[in-house]
């Protein structure tokens, strides 16, 4: 907790909760937001208050990233909770939700408890955890969903393992609903996508890569949506990527299902052409799609159909990436590049800033029942100060994350985190 109250003055406040984007200031005391003003200055500040001049830069809620993989426990050379927390702090991400596909898997409360205790000792960003939907992520027996919910699991997912058995998935959905927890599932027909590393099409055919038709996403999603409707459970559509699936999602939402879809920053930033030189940093799951699909995804973010954006942070060390494309591990490191990559949609005029920021703050907070993600009195003082215009060139070698597998390596983006504040404490301050 911060010892002295701090006033952040002369800022551009961007708060999706109130819909306010304009001049502002706020006071942080005892780790929470004590006061919010919609003017550059606050009158009659007590003399013992610490004052920070934001210089007109954007003061926003810290980012909440609900899909972060680390290697702890089981694969610490990839990423530890500590290295991921440091990367998050640098990236302006003040809450992360780590994924249960560790070794051992987070399918019972003891492993969950281990992670949360380890994270607490690090004292950087908030580390939350998702629990496995099924034991060992094998898709057969339900994991201890109730006990893990009690221990703090925010949602349940088998991460990249498809829940092929509809009966099991139905039970997971209805069981998790009883504990008021959502279930995330990445829609991919398990048979069509088996062994695939690219999206079917002229390019994948020419490159000679095993591929999956884009429709495999819609096929799986239609089932998931129907089961969500049947059970009334809250479904998180993990990483929707195709125009076809977005159409299905829109139809389902019109019928009143409790469905939230996420998009990964990778699928908003890249398309299948990026894999053209067999660059394994672009090997992600689901595979990068056609440009039409990417455009549809951006429109879905702008319209609010896709409510949450994640980094899909998946650290992979060189030994997993310096391989031929089809043998390389999928996934991209993303915690440190999420914000500037996201801001390119704002700089390109595709989305309003406040709508974009909502997808990584308020929307995931509401989905997961977190008090953070908003600039309102009483909310945790998880803040970032950001120079929205600052040009940055991403240099993967300089990433804090233990694994440097960033597809943004060498890209020119705009937006730099100046200050990251968690519970009122400064956990990162830009060196420049």
């Amino acid at each position: 907790m911060s010892e002295r109250p701090t006033a952040y003055l002369n800022a551009r406040l961007v708060d999706p909760a109130s819909g306010y984007d304009g001049p502002g200031a706020l006071i942080v005391a005892e780790g929470v937001i004590a006061e919010v003003a919609h003017s550059y200055h606050i009158a009659n500040l007590s003399p013992d208050i610490e004052m920070i001049d934001c210089g007109g830069q954007a003061l926003m809620p810290g980012l909440i990233d609900l899909r972060v993989k680390t290697g702890e426990p089981g694969a610490e050379p990839k990423e530890t909770l500590k290295s991921a927390s440091r990367a998050a702090a640098v990236g302006g991400v003040t809450s992360i939700v780590v994924q249960p596909d560790t070794d051992p898997a987070v399918d019972e409360p003891a492993v969950l408890d281990f992670i949360l205790r380890r994270a607490r000792d690090i004292e950087l960003v908030h580390v939350h955890a998702a629990g496995a939907a099924t034991r060992g992520l094998k898709g057969v027996h339900m994991a201890e969903i109730g006990l893990m919910a009690e221990a703090g699991a925010l949602y349940f997912t088998d991460v990249d393992q498809p829940l092929a058995d509809s009966k099991v998935f139905r039970r997971v959905l209805s069981y998790a609903k009883a504990f008021d927890r959502p279930v995330a599932h990445r829609p991919a027909d398990p048979y069509l996508s088996l062994g695939a590393v690219a999206t079917e099409g002229e390019l994948a055919g020419r490159l000679g890569l095993p591929s999956v038709p884009a429709i495999a996403e819609r096929i799986a999603l239609e089932r998931d949506l129907a089961l969500a409707e049947l059970t009334g459970a809250r479904l998180i559509v993990d990483q929707i990527t195709t125009a076809e699936a977005l159409d299905s999602l829109a139809r389902s939402r019109a019928r009143g299902t409790h469905v939230t879809a996420t998009a990964s920053i990778n699928h908003l930033s890249f398309n299948e052409v990026d894999i053209g030189d067999y660059r394994t940093f672009y090997r992600v799951d689901p595979p990068l799609r056609a440009e039409d699909d990417r455009q549809a995804l951006i429109e879905a973010v702008a319209s609010g159909l896709v409510g949450v954006i994640t980094s899909a942070h998946t650290p992979a060390p060189p030994e997993d990436k310096r391989l031929p494309f089809s043998e390389a591990a999928p996934g991209a490191a993303g915690l440190e590049t999420l914000l500037p990559a996201l801001l390119s949609l704002y700089h390109e005029g595709r989305c309003d800033l406040i709508d974009l920021i909502r997808t990584v703050t308020l929307a995931p907070a509401e989905l997961l029942g977190l008090a953070a993600g908003r600039l309102v009195r009483g909310a945790p003082a998880d803040l970032i100060l950001c120079d929205l215009e600052a040009p940055v060139v991403i240099d993967a070698a300089k990433l804090i994350s233990k694994s440097k597998n960033s597809p943004f390596d060498g890209r020119r983006l705009q937006g730099r985190v100046v200050l990251t504040v968690v519970d009122g404490r400064v956990v990162y301050r830009s060196g420049v």
Binding site: E202, G205, R206, G208, L209, E319, R322, L323, P324, S326
Partner: protein
């Protein structure tokens, strides 16, 4: 103790060798690219020049004295992550006829299985300073990946389903020698196009050289988007081979089948195997090719494969050595010019 009289054959060889050598020297050039990974890196004049040079090497291979010194002092490493006796031997013979030292590696059995990455293997090998590295690997893009990390010239001897550019070159050489030209011919490539690097390289090179290419096979063995490669796609083999000058059969890659792409081999043979009846629909002067090894009775009937009046399959093997000699020689010529990659 009198010297043995020279035999007539040896005399002929002594007479031929300088002619062949001067023929080779007249046709030598340095390849414009540092590696030979894909036919996409070639332009048409360069492809024709490679075939001209290969033609000269055919003469050399048929002479008594088969050895030149173009690659003398050069080291060629054959790195075959997937075993292939015929391609590896073809490269080895080609290199030896040009005077290179050759080393064969089968990394499947060495450190690759122990968690070393493909790049680690390449970097280790690179430190031994080979000049030419011939790579075969089961994954598409493996040769391109290696080429980014080593200081020698990389020759792709087949990467997954992607490309096998020297095979396309030898096929073009075989066709050009049989017909005098590639341009204007209609060539049907038939069978398992989906898993075939031979097909992908041939589509690119034969079209570059002015041929009309047809792709023939069941829909399950045709890559999505093949109709956008500039070739005409047929799922009915009878229509696909009608009137064509060349039928190029592909091996049905049984070892790669991880699912049922076709119901049975006999059904496959019935609809997509090359037999005399289907072949009768092609042009009267049709020639048949196959990259080998053949699955007799699955994709091709023995009576067709062994009919020396129409089959070019034996010539393909012979041309393989000559075509590879042309690739090795022109890459080495580039190295002689001091143009090493990634230094």
């Amino acid at each position: 103790m009198s010297p043995a009289p020279a035999t007539p054959i040896a005399c002929a060889a002594m007479r031929d060798a300088p002619d062949i050598e001067s023929g080779v020297r007249a046709r030598m050039f340095a390849l414009s690219q540092p590696h030979f990974i894909s036919v996409a890196g070639l332009n048409r004049p360069e492809a024709e020049r490679l075939l001209d040079l290969a033609d000269a090497f055919v003469g050399l291979s048929r002479a008594r004295e088969k050895k030149l010194s173009l690659l003398r002092g050069r080291t060629l490493v054959n790195m075959f992550f997937e075993s292939s006796t015929r391609t590896q031997s073809s490269f080895e013979i080609a290199a030896k006829r040009l005077g290179a030292d050759t080393v064969n590696m089968s990394p499947r059995t060495s450190s690759v299985t122990k968690g070393e990455t493909l790049i680690d293997t390449a970097v280790t090998l690179n430190a031994m300073k080979p000049d030419l590295l011939v790579v075969r690997h089961a994954a598409s893009g493996a040769a391109a990946l290696l080429s980014q990390k080593v200081g020698c010239s990389v020759i792709n001897a087949g990467d997954g389903w992607h490309e096998h550019p020297t095979q396309a070159l030898l096929d073009a050489l075989t066709i050009r020698r049989a017909f005098g030209t590639v341009s204007g011919l209609t060539i049907a490539i038939c069978g398992d196009v989906l898993h075939s690097r031979v097909a992908r390289s041939n589509v690119g090179l034969l079209q570059l050289m002015g041929a009309r290419v047809r792709l023939v096979g069941p829909p399950t063995l045709m890559p999505s988007g093949a109709d956008q490669w500039g070739a005409e796609v047929f799922h009915d083999m009878r229509a696909g081979v009608a009137g064509v000058d060349v039928v190029m059969m592909l091996r049905l890659q049984l070892e790669r089948m991880d699912g049922a792409f076709v119901p049975s081999t006999r059904e496959y043979f019935r609809f997509f195997g090359l037999d005399a009846e289907k072949l009768a629909l092609a042009a009267p002067h049709v020639r048949v090719m196959h990259p080998g090894p053949m699955n007799r009775g699955v994709e091709i009937e023995s009576g067709v494969a062994d009919n020396l009046d129409i089959s070019l399959i034996q010539q393909q093997v012979e041309m393989g050595v000559a075509a590879r000699m042309a690739v090795l020689a022109t890459l080495a010529a580039r190295l002689d010019d001091g143009d090493r990659p990634n230094v």
